[in-house]
């Protein structure tokens, strides 16, 4: 460990070195968070290299090999169409991570911008924004997501949007409270006195200073987004067949053939749990490291 650290110290430029040191420090201080990060990294690799890792094509039906129990050929068995469950789980990580990252990034970013703008402009704008966010907050998470699906229909991008929308007010709420304190800082007044425009103040002076709550929200939402995508797909209102998605694999056939092929219901659920578990571990540790007092609903 020390040797590896010394190597990076020698070779890397200062900026990279600071990053590497921060990462090593984080791993030392919070082994659980590092374990979560490791699992996430492995999942990301599996998603990127799915074509190489997956032993079979996730979409090809093979009616000669339906309901095969796990064996040397099919480690996780096969499903009702003879598709390899392991390959589908591996490809499913693409769907889960893609939807998770896109929706939490979009939701947190839009929410942060709304939160900052609301705190910056204050007065009537703030009041109006807050009322609007109140309205969005009075929908339980899944209900708002389902309403968006009802409007847009199913499919990958619509699911991303459906998960993004309920995240926005939650991120806006947290970021606004940080931005309110920031608004009183002398450097904001200084920038205004220099004649800097509103949006430049917001983007260049305020946004970088709410990075801590922003990153905390982003990681906290990742696990929730993956869970929500799985729930929507499970209800048949998310990603559509034959796209491999963990929630979708648990739908219908998994319960129907539970007695004959329990592996169909076992592995996708394990994958969901592991992914959410990893993101929660990482997110919790990141919050402890950055701002232990912040509460993320």
């Amino acid at each position: 460990m020390a040797q590896a650290q010394a190597l990076t110290t020698l070779a890397a430029p200062p900026r990279l070195r600071r990053w590497a040191e921060a990462c090593v420090g984080f791993a030392r201080a919070r082994p659980l968070g590092a374990a979560g990060a490791l699992i996430i990294l492995m999942m990301a690799l599996a998603a990127l290299l799915a074509d190489v890792i997956a032993p079979y094509d996730p979409l090809t039906n093979n009616y000669a090999a339906m309901f095969r129990p796990p064996d040397a050929l099919h480690w996780f068995g096969t499903d009702a169409f003879g598709r390899d469950v392991l390959s589908r789980v591996v490809y499913g990580s693409r769907t889960a991570l893609w939807v998770g990252f896109c929706s939490s990034f979009l939701g947190t970013t839009l929410g942060a911008l709304i939160g900052i703008a609301s705190a910056y402009f204050g007065g009537r704008t703030d009041l109006l924004m807050q009322r609007l966010m109140d309205i969005l907050l009075s929908f339980p998470l899944i209900v708002l997501a389902l309403v968006v699906v009802a409007v847009l229909g199913t499919g990958l991008w619509n699911v991303v949007l459906a998960i993004t929308v309920p995240m926005i007010p939650r991120a806006a709420l947290v970021v606004r409270s940080s931005a309110l304190a920031l608004r009183q800082m002398p450097f904001v007044d200084a920038a205004l006195a220099l004649g800097v425009g509103h949006w430049r103040v917001i983007f260049r002076h305020m946004l970088p200073n709410v990075m801590a709550p922003y990153l905390i929200m982003l990681t906290a939402f990742l696990g929730q987004a993956i869970l929500l995508e799985a729930s929507l797909s499970f209800l048949g209102l998310g990603v559509a067949e034959p796209t491999p998605a963990w929630g979708l694999m648990l739908r219908g056939a998994a319960v129907e053939f539970a007695e004959r092929a329990p592996w169909m219901a076992l592995f996708p659920g394990l994958a969901i749990s592991l992914a959410v578990f990893a993101f929660n571990l990482f997110g919790d540790s990141l919050r402890d490291a950055l701002d232990p007092k912040l509460r993320v609903a």
Partner: protein
């Protein structure tokens, strides 16, 4: 205090009005409607006049603003209209399902509290021992395991080991209490696990915090039983954040109901909600969203009240 309460209640009205307006217009922006879906489902050729006639019958041909005003006027008089799909009054459709979902929600909450308080307290008292680790793993897993998968696992275990399948029809409590509880216990457990996990974590950290207070040392110093110290001095003072969590997590409880009712084949509000969305039954979807949002806002209001009642230091003004 009274003024604050009145303010809170009055603020709920514009918020819920916003919810109603948002859902109403969003649903109608979407292309396609229930009439097209019905004809597409039968596969028969649909003459244009027939479609138009049916739309007119459902009031879908009127201007949006007019439809909205008449819907709102109905709600003010507690008249939610009729379902576009079945044609029956929405209030009746919801009433027959509400009992099931409400019972499930209450059972899940009770299970969560019954698990969380002892487990969380135990973990805090035995901090950093194996008991603490087991409880922490149990609660961290609860945040990750989706309730529908837990439900599927429960069914799998029962199916493989006991050849038992969830019954197809719902037995109300007053007809056969034992059968009713047997039927709802497992779905309630599937829904309640996440709830209990969050509450356990909260109980543990709250008790840990309280145990460091001076009055705990005083209680111990005067020779009080450890049991009394923990139960009466620590746990009671640690209850506040746990109560808050129950309100915050209500949203997840709803989500749990929606998916778990599918797994266990329970014809409750969650099932009705998913059905109404796939059928584009606007009137039903609207009514359900409004109902759920109202319940959500109301529960959070109740939690605030409970907060003030449990902790006399909190004064809303």
């Amino acid at each position: 205090m009274r003024r604050y309460l009145l303010q809170r209640v009055l603020l709920m009205i514009p918020t819920l009005f916003g919810v109603a307006a948002l859902v109403f217009f969003l649903l109608r922006v979407a292309p396609g409607d229930i009439v097209e879906l019905k004809y597409a489902g039968t596969g028969a050729f649909a003459p244009k006049e027939a479609i138009e006639r049916e739309r007119a019958q459902l009031g879908l041909d009127r201007p949006l603003a007019e439809q909205f005003v008449s819907w709102m006027w109905g709600i003010v008089r507690f008249d939610f209209g009729t379902s576009m799909w079945t044609g029956k009054p929405i209030a009746d459709e919801i009433r027959i399902r509400l009992e099931l979902s409400l019972q499930l929600a209450i059972m899940a909450t009770l299970i969560a509290i019954a698990l969380a308080l002892p487990l969380g307290t135990l973990a805090a008292v035995k901090q950093d021992t194996w008991v603490d680790y087991v409880v922490r793993v149990f609660s961290i897993a609860g945040l990750a395991v989706p309730s529908f998968w837990l439900g599927i696992l429960i069914i799998l275990v029962f199916l493989i080991f006991f050849k038992w399948l969830p019954p197809l029809t719902f037995t109300p409590f007053w007809v056969d209490p034992k059968a009713n509880l047997m039927q709802l216990l497992w779905p309630a457990l599937a829904v309640g696990y996440r709830y209990s996990a969050v509450a356990t974590r909260m109980t543990r950290s709250a008790v840990l915090e309280v145990l460091r207070e001076d009055y705990i040392r005083t209680a111990r110093a005067k020779g009080l039983w450890e049991r009394a110290v923990v139960m009466r001095h620590a746990l009671r003072n640690a209850l506040l954040p746990v109560v808050a969590v129950i309100g915050l997590e209500f949203a997840f409880l709803i989500g749990g109901l929606v998916v778990t009712e599918q797994v266990f084949n329970l014809n409750g509000i969650g099932m009705l909600f998913v059905e109404s969305i796939t059928r584009r039954d606007y009137t039903m979807t609207q009514a359900l969203v409004l109902l759920v949002s109202f319940a959500f806002v109301f529960v959070n209001f109740l939690v605030d009240l409970l907060y003030a009642w449990l902790d006399p230091r909190i004064r809303y003004g």
